[in-house]
Amino acid sequence: MTNPSTTGASHSKQDMTHRLGAWLKHHQRVSGESLGTLLGSGLSSLMTWLVIGIALALPAILLVTLNNLGTLSGSWDGNPKINLFLDKHLQESAAGVFSRELRDWPEVKAVTLIRADDALAEFQALSGLGDALLALEDNPLPAVILLEPVNPAEASLRLMVKRLEARPEVASVSVDLAWVARLHAMLNLGERMVISVSMFLGLGVLLIIGNTIRLAIENRRTEIEVIKLVGGTDAFVRRPFLYLGFWYGLGGALIAWLLMLVSLAWLEAPVQKLAGTYGTGFSLIGLDWEQTLGFLLLGALLGVAGAWLAVGRHLRQIEP
């Protein structure tokens, strides 16, 4: 076996490209056969696919929900705004002078003045109260100045708020910092929870696939023995099972993705309705094609990993 002259026309005489071609053809054939086996066994593999799909769909839907909440809070991200409600009796010209003065403050990045009339018009348009507001004798809304600070750090914000509150033009100051911070903290917490749930479910998927592959190995015990008898390497024996795991994982991820699409579509209408009452055109965002590809790949990887675990454990026990 070490002397090529005694081995006849062994594969050492084939050139590399020829061997690579044969190897690729073999992979193509094995992966096709594995998929064929799965599709051939109909209901039982469909059940496995569904189990994997549901286990993967849950964390995926949670992650997408979190993502959406994240974009919702995105408009406040990093740059908290300060709302100055001006004194109701302040003249419009005085409000203009004040806003121009603020513009010159070094710690202020942007200033937007919303006059009382504009505020009312906007409120009429968005609140849906419409004509009811026309019945009011005079405008109940004060003029508002929106300030965007240069430095969003909490300490400097507090300092600025104190300075603003001291001004006679200002009736009250509100900073949306606190609730943005709270929302971010909640999103962080949610993310952690989703990640831990995902890990458990991922582990579950790994075990489901591992167990399914273990059964497949048991079913093909004689075949494995014969392959080993005629000189099959461990890699050769392992290959069809790894492909089996790959297809289980990929199929499961595909089902999970479909489940996610369906549930997002189902949520879309109520979300639109809810967003409408807030006067925004918010719409749910699913996965883009890159994320979809990544998700499917992750499923396939989980499948291969589960198969690898099962094969590593059980294949050595089968010796002719």
């Binding site: 081995t7 594969h11 084939q14 073999h26 075949e223 014969v226 080993k228």
Partner: protein, 219 residues
Amino acid sequence: MIRFDQVSKRYESGNEALAGVNFELDTGEMAFLTGHSGAGKSTLLKLILMMERPSRGQVFVSGVNLNRLGRRHIPGVRREIGTVFQNHQLLFDRRVYDNVALPLTIAGYHPKEVSRRVRAALSKVGLADKEKQFPLALSGGEQQRVGIARAVVNRPSILLADEPTGNLDPALSAEIMRLFHDFNQVGVTVLIATHDLDLVQRMGLRQLILKEGRIQPDD
């Protein structure tokens, strides 16, 4: 080609199958391994195929001491040896063609080359028209010949057979033996374990007789 040097094999059950076996089979030689059932014929073949490891002593195949080879070298050893098993060891859910092609697929041959060699091997054993059949549709003798085709398809330098004529009638047995003889004529080293003494006598070839775990001295 095959050399046993003081080889003993004691199973965990305490049963000593081989007790100091010595023999050498030259390249291109053909011999029969005989002895009553349980004399250790199968154990001896399993040691050559590394299905078992000797308790003591050394087995050499093509000059390589098998004791020195680790687990990952086993496939390489088996690829150089064509083996015909007593119970055929065919895959019943695969067609005759795929059964015979298995050693070539494993060795990484290109499908075209595989097809050429499989057809040659099948026509050599007279089953050229059965390649699309499943093994269960074949008779016992035909199944045995599929096993032989699979054993020789990779053109091994050594051919082992364990009771290849076990359940066959005398005419079929003689035919199978003639096949082995043909392979031997083209330079393959052949070792056949059998208890069919009539046949052995008729062939008039070297006999390795196993008795009480040892090879009896040549006459």
